[in-house]
C-alpha cells in the first residue's frame, strides 16, 4: 500500500522493513515541504540529525503543499507520524483542542528554548502549554519596483502621507500603485492585518482576531476607512478578484504596477517570473499611519509538532531539540531563504532577509502571525471573504461588518 512518498533516507530503512516490527529508533516525519528550497532544507536537516544520532532512522513522508492542509487531519487521527510540520497561532488550535498534539514544555525547559526562541513562545502557547517548536519565519512588508520608483523620483515611503503621495505619482505616470490577486482571499488578509496593526496597534488586532472585540467597533471602521482611501484612490490592480497571487505578479514584472504587500517568499517567485531582483526589486516596511502606535509586524512562523498518537516520542523530542539549536536553524534557513527563530542563529547573506531580520529585531509593537493563523478557521474564512468583497464593493461595508459580527458570535 503506497500511502505516501516514503523517502527512506538511509539503507538502514530496509532493515526496518525486514524486521517487521518497528524498532525503537525509527522516526516518522510528515512534512509539506515539497517546493524545491524547503525540500532541500529538510533533506539536509534530516541527514544532519541522523549523523548525530546514528541509532535513529528517519522515514520522511513528503506531501504536496495544498493537499497537506486537509490530509493532516487524517494522519493525525488515523496514522500519526512522530513529527509533523504545521503553523503557529490559532491555526493549530483545532488540533490542540482535539488532543492531537502533544505538549512539549519539557523540550523547551531542558534546552532553554524560552530564552533562545523567546520571540515565538507566545504564538506556540495555548492554555499555558507549549505545543511545538518554531524553526523558521519570514517578514511581510511592501515589495516594490525600485527602478520604477527611481525613474519617477519616488523615495520608499515611511509614512502614510508619503505612501499616498507615492501612489499618486505612480498613477500620474500610468502605473498602478499596488498589485494584488485576491482570488484565493488570503492576500487581502495581509493588507487588512497591516492596516489594522498600523491604525489600532497589535493589542487591538490580537483582541479582534481572538474574538474579543466586535467587528462593528469604530476602531475596525477606522481601519476600513484607511483601506477605503486606497480603494477610492484606485491604488489596487483592477479585477484583482480574478487573479491568484502568482498571476498578480505579472503586472509588476511587466512594469504596470509597482508595489505588492507580500511575504518574503515572493522574492523567489519574482525571480522565477523574470524580474532582476538585484536591480529591480526593493523592500520597505509598511508605512506608519498613526505615529502614536508602536509599530508591529507580521511574520508567520512555521513549526514542528509531535502528534499525541506518535509511537516514538522520545526520538521525536530529540529531533525537536535538534531543530531548535542555533547552528541548525542557521543552516535550515539559509536553504529555505527565510529567517531563523533562534536569536543566536545567523541570518543568510541576502538583502531581503537582512532587511527583514533588522526590521523584526527592532519591532517593539508585537509580531502577528497572519490573519488566518491568528483568527480561528471559520472567522478567518469569513473575514477574508469580507475583505475581498470590501475591496470591490466598499459601499457594502456595514453589511460586511455585520456579517462578520454574526460569524464572531458563533465561531468563538
Amino acid at each position: 500500500m503506497a500511502l505516501f512518498t516514503k523517502t527512506a533516507l538511509t539503507s538502514v530503512a530496509a532493515l526496518t522493513l525486514l524486521g517487521g516490527t518497528a524498532f525503537a529508533g525509527e522516526l516518522v516525519i510528515n512534512t509539506d515541504t515539497s517546493d524545491p528550497a524547503p525540500k532541500a532544507a529538510f533533506e539536509a536537516l534530516i541527514a544532519g540529525f541522523e549523523a548525530e544520532n546514528p541509532d535513529v532512522t528517519v522515514t520522511w513522508n513528503l506531501f504536496d503543499h495544498e493537499g497537506y492542509k486537509t490530509s493532516i487531519r487524517n494522519f493525525l487521527t488515523a496514522d500519526a507520524p512522530d513529527v509533523a510540520n504545521w503553523y503557529a497561532g490559532n491555526r493549530m488550535l483545532p488540533y490542540v483542542n482535539a488532543g492531537l498534539f502533544e505538549p512539549v514544555n519539557d523540550v523547551w525547559e531542558e534546552n532553554g528554548l524560552s530564552e533562545s526562541l523567546a520571540s515565538a513562545e507566545g504564538s506556540m502557547t495555548i492554555d499555558g502549554k507549549i505545543w511545538g517548536v518554531p524553526y523558521t519565519y519570514y517578514q511581510w512588508g511592501v515589495y516594490y519596483r525600485k527602478d520604477i520608483f527611481a525613474e519617477h523620483g519616488i523615495e520608499a515611503p515611511a509614512t502614510w502621507d508619503d505612501f499616498l503621495a507615492a501612489g499618486e505619482t505612480l498613477k500620474a505616470n500610468g502605473v498602478t500603485p499596488i498589485t494584488i490577486g485576491t482570488k484565493y482571499l488570503w492576500t487581502a488578509g495581509g493588507v487588512f492585518d497591516y492596516l489594522n496593526l498600523r491604525t489600532n496597534g497589535y493589542d487591538f488586532h490580537m483582541a479582534l482576531t481572538k474574538g474579543e472585540v466586535a467587528w462593528t467597533d469604530d476602531r475596525v471602521r477606522a481601519t476600513m476607512a484607511n483601506w477605503q482611501t486606497l480603494i477610492d484612490g484606485d491604488f489596487f490592480l483592477e479585477n484583482h478578484a480574478a487573479y491568484s497571487w502568482q498571476e498578480a505578479l505579472a503586472p509588476m514584472v511587466q512594469g504596470d504596477a509597482a508595489m505588492y504587500v507580500m511575504g518574503n517568499f515572493s522574492v523567489e517567485q519574482f525571480k522565477v517570473a523574470g524580474l532582476d531582483v538585484d536591480t529591480q526589486l526593493g523592500f520597505f516596511q509598511f508605512p506608519v499611519i498613526d505615529p502614536s502606535i508602536p509599530v508591529a509586524e507580521e511574520a508567520p512562523t512555521d513549526t514542528l509538532h509531535i502528534p499525541s498518537g506518535a509511537k516514538n516520542k522520545e526520538d521525536a523530542k530529540k529531533f525537536l531539540a535538534y531543530l531548535a539549536r542555533a547552528d541548525v536553524q542557521s543552516e535550515v534557513n539559509k536553504t529555505l531563504g527565510q529567517l531563523p527563530v533562534n536569536k543566536n542563529s545567523e541570518v543568510a547573506d541576502d538583502v531581503f532577509l537582512q532587511a527583514g531580520a533588522e526590521m523584526l529585531s527592532n519591532t517593539t509593537g508585537g509580531i502577528a502571525q497572519f490573519f488566518d493563523r491568528d483568527a480561528p478557521a471559520e472567522m478567518a474564512k469569513a473575514g477574508m471573504e469580507g475583505f475581498q468583497e470590501f475591496m470591490v464593493k466598499p459601499e457594502r461595508l456595514d453589511a460586511i461588518l455585520e456579517r462578520l459580527e454574526k460569524v464572531r458570535a458563533r465561531a468563538y
Partner: protein
Amino acid sequence: MNARRKFDQKKIAPWLFLAPGMLMFLIYVIIPVFQSMNISLYDWDGLGEKTFIGMDNYVELFDDEAFYTSLKNNIIWLVLYMLAIPAGLFIALFLNQTVFGIRLYKSLFFFPFVISQVVVGLVFSWFYDPSFGLMNVMLNFFGIDSIAVLADERYVTYGIIAAGLWPQTAYCMILYLTGLNAVDPEQIEAGRLDNAKGWRMLWYVVLPQLKPATFIAIVVTVIGALRSFDLIAIMTAGGPWGSSRVLAFYMYEQAFSEYGFRMGYGAAIAVVLFLIMLVYIAFFLTKMYRDERG
C-alpha cells in the same frame, strides 16, 4: 427430485447474484446517506468528539446568507441548464443530414462531453481572463471594455453555467441524434401532406416522437445541474466573496476545505440538497414505475 432442486435454486440464485452488488451499494451508498443525516444533528469538527445539538445546524442554515446565495444559484443553474436541451436539439437537427463526412462532424461536435470538467473549467477560466482572454480580446475588438466575468458577482454564475452548457449541450445533441434516427419517415410524409412545415412540423410531428430522448435529456440535465461542483471548484472556488457557490460546493467548503471544519453543518447542507434531489428521484421513479406496468 431434480425439479425440486431447480425450484430451490431459482429461489436462492437471485440473492446470490445480487449479494456482492447490494453489499457494496449498501456500504458505500445507502448507509452513508443515513450516517450523514445523523451527523447533521451534531456539532463536529471531524477531529474530536461529536456534540449532539439536535436541529441547531438546520436552524442556523435557515439564517445563513450563504445558504440562500447557494440555493438561489442552484435554481439559476437548474433553469439555465435546461437551455442545453433546445440547444442540443437544434444542433442535432442541423447535423442530421447525410453529406460527406457527417459522421466525423457529429463526433467532433460531441467532443466537449468526453473531456473532463476540470479541463473545461480551465479552458473557460482562460477564455474569460480579463487581461488576455479570448472573450475580452473579441469584446475589445468591437470597442467594448473587458469584463472580468469570474470576478464579478453579477456575471460569475452565468459565466460558469455557460461553461457547463458546452458539454451538456453536446450530451443532449447526441441523445437527439439517436432519437432522430428512429423518427418514422411515414409520419413525416403524412405531416407533409397535411401541409405541416417548419415549426409546426417540428412541434406536432417530430417532437412527439422524440419524447423518450427529451425525457432522458431532462433527467441527465437536472442531475448535471444539481451536481455542479467541478466547474465551480476549478473556476472560482465559490468566489468572488462566495457569490458563485451552490449547495454542493458550499457543503464541501464547510466540511473539507482549508478552513472548513464543520462536518455537522456540512452534512445538514447535504441533507437539504438530497431532499431537493429526492423530488426528482420521485418523479423519475414514478415515470419508470408506470412504464414497467404499462
